[in-house]
Symmetry: C2
Subunit: 140 residues, 2 copies
């Protein structure tokens, strides 16, 4: 029984990124919304790859970690209370995954939440998963 547990543990530790990924990605999303909601934009930008592509609605492409940090900092003047929910994570090989998720946020000075959906391409950089492509839109 102990040997079986050990083998299972080794398999889990060396498995690339299948069933466990959704939990990994959801945890990173919690770090994302936490950083945004408390205004730590350096920590938020650090969740992206160095040359990530952000594709926000009502705006042009935002490329690279520095401009992504500025984008989110500016966005925080208008919206808060961001929440992210991972719906589906599909791994492509061991270093890339496509996430589909939903979000809610609150425009400042409004009662009503805004809901939307997003696609993120995650890439493994060293030991960490980072957002490489990030696009979203609102539902209405």
């Amino acid at each position: 029984m102990r040997r079986f547990a050990l083998v299972t543990l080794i398999c889990l530790a060396t498995a690339p990124l299948y069933a466990q990924d959704k939990a990994t990605i959801q945890k990173l999303n919690e770090a994302f919304s936490e950083a945004f909601n408390k205004g730590d934009f350096a920590a938020l930008a650090d969740l992206y790859t160095q040359d990530a592509t952000l594709m926000p609605p009502q705006a042009d492409f935002v490329r690279g970690r520095d401009d992504i940090q500025k984008f989110w900092q500016a966005a925080s003047d208008h919206v808060g209370d961001l929440r992210l929910t991972t719906l589906d994570v599909e791994p492509f090989g061991s270093d890339t995954a496509r996430e589909i998720g939903t979000f809610t946020l609150k425009p400042k000075g409004q009662q009503e939440e805004v809901a939307g959906k997003y696609v993120v391409i995650w890439q493994r950089v060293g030991g960490d998963w980072k957002l490489a492509t990030d696009i979203w839109n609102t539902n209405k």
Copy 2:
């Protein structure tokens, strides 16, 4: 020289999907906009995988080829003159690729074009590349 050309040809024919992909994808996008602009929604839907996910702005998720066909048919009442431009295609293994592109379209009864950007996850189904995930938003 002829032998070199032959070897090159064989390599190109068996290479999975690198440099040549952007051209492949751009060609499929031309088929996409052509089908949309002439109102052939069955052909348009057939460019998607059977269980594709569409994520339009100002709407909820649209799942599966049948509902995707209905979505584009309904959209054509409001917009036309769709043009798609592939900016970047990144292959993930031999059966998946992530495309980033831009589009323009014309709302019916308006002079001014609307411009936007999109992410498509393409998947190889048999010998064909199909849209599996499709999300976009407008720039302003």
